[in-house]
């Protein structure tokens, strides 16, 4: 009976458009229950032992769903989960329409000939990101894949100049209270941030300052971040 269900979902998915494919999952976009939806399919990995693959894939799916809901209840913006199929490991999520990634926004902003060529216009955004991450870590949610491509800016309401920040892709996320894990989370972001957006150290610094000011448990986390930096290499959290 499980096979039967997987086929129903895969038939549905074959009609949608594949947005991207990673090592872990395929992402589709389609209309589901009247809404534009992102479907994240963790497909079977043939190179793994089947029993292990099933357990791992199931666990990752569950962790992702749990992290999203945990963030939501604390008011951290994430896509809504509409439906989870645990037989085919598919998560049906809200498609955040009318949005840009923070990555693209920063790139676009830096390209425009500005009155001042400084990073000043981007400081409020950096501060906002810092605040959101602080709230997330205070909920003991570690994102696991923090990059500026995994943060969206969407128009919030009519005529509001303010774009609201949404965190996406909780595929590598998990629950942890350890400052070490949160420190690594920030380290991953720092590396990604500085490589994608060269010469933005002051901007990232602003982000960290905002984080430190917003999180109740930040000092331990920042301390660990410094330690990890000194170590000089990423600590791989991917199993």
């Amino acid at each position: 009976m499980e096979l039967e269900k997987s086929m129903v979902v895969s038939e549905f998915l074959s009609k949608g458009s594949v947005l991207k494919q990673g090592a872990e999952a395929r992402v589709y976009r389609d209309v589901f229950l009247g809404r534009s939806t992102i479907i994240k399919e963790r497909f079977p990995k043939k190179y793994r032992h089947p029993l292990l693959d099933e357990k791992l894939t199931h666990r990752r799916t569950v962790q992702e769903v749990r992290s999203i809901q945990r963030c939501r209840r604390a008011g951290i913006p994430t896509p809504v989960v509409y439906f989870v199929d645990y037989t085919s490991h598919c998560i049906f999520l809200e498609d955040i329409v009318d949005s840009v990634t923070v990555r693209d926004h920063i790139l676009a902003t830096r390209q425009r000939p500005h009155p001042s060529p400084t990073l000043e216009p981007l400081e409020p955004l950096a501060a906002r990101v810092g605040r959101v991450l602080a709230r997330m870590h205070d909920e003991d949610v570690v994102h696991g894949d923090l990059t500026t491509s995994n943060m969206l800016l969407r128009r919030s309401g009519e005529g509001e100049a303010e774009l609201s920040l949404v965190l996406i892709d909780f595929g590598l996320s998990y629950i942890s209270a350890l400052p070490e894990d949160k420190g690594v989370d920030l380290y991953v972001l720092e590396k990604a941030f500085l490589s994608t957006h060269p010469n933005t150290e002051p901007l990232f610094q602003k982000l960290l300052e905002s984080y430190a000011a917003s999180s109740k448990k930040s000092s331990a986390v920042i301390k660990k971040l410094d330690e990890v930096r000194l170590r000089g290499r990423k600590r791989s959290m991917v199993g």
């Binding site: 269900k5 009247g34 008011g75 809504v80 989960v81 439906f83 989870v84």
Partner: protein
């Protein structure tokens, strides 16, 4: 006046909703539903924010039925159970099913193909006034919904009540 929604994952199956106000025979309806004379889910509109909430519950119910993993005994009771934020079945029936004191009811029918006859049959059994689905928000008890689903103010501010409710429904198995 009823509204129908196809279930994309289950081609050919649709969810049809009918909303009734000023219902004078809730006890009889409840007995009919439990007895199997009415093959639809009868839901208390007070706990509903939007039809989407019901469609999400119906989709999950059909999915679980297809893989043989329903928690309740029938598709219709499963729809009611899926609306609940908890895993307690009797509590779900109490809160989301209709009681003898209710005066409005939402009829939910999951069908394959043309069910116009069944719809007409059910409509005949309801001693009440059918109204368009647009009137559903007027029958919602937002305070009770917030309380039952434990929606925090920051959660509602961030994404709205409907999204908060739907997400809780969709993720309750693993929380």
């Amino acid at each position: 006046m009823h509204s129908s929604h196809p279930l994309e994952l289950f081609p050919g199956r649709t969810v049809t909703l009918m909303l009734f106000k000023c219902v004078r025979n809730p006890a009889e309806l409840r007995r009919s539903a439990m007895g199997g004379q009415i093959t639809a889910a009868l839901i208390n509109p007070r706990m509903l924010v939007d039809p989407f909430q019901v469609i999400v519950a119906a989709n999950k119910a059909v999915h679980l039925q297809t893989i043989g993993k329903m928690k309740t005994r029938s598709l219709n009771s499963e729809i009611i159970f899926n609306l609940s934020p908890t895993n307690n079945i009797s509590e779900a029936f109490k809160r989301f099913g209709i009681s003898d004191a209710d005066d409005s009811v939402l009829v939910v029918l999951v069908a394959t193909g043309d069910e116009s006859q069944t719809l007409a049959d059910i409509k005949e059994k309801v001693d009440g006034e059918q109204v368009p689905m647009e009137e559903l928000p007027m029958l919602s008890d937002v305070t009770q919904i917030r309380k039952l689903y434990k929606v925090t103010p920051q959660e509602e501010k961030m994404g709205g009540l409907l999204d908060s409710v739907v997400c809780k429904m969709a993720t309750k198995d693993v929380m």
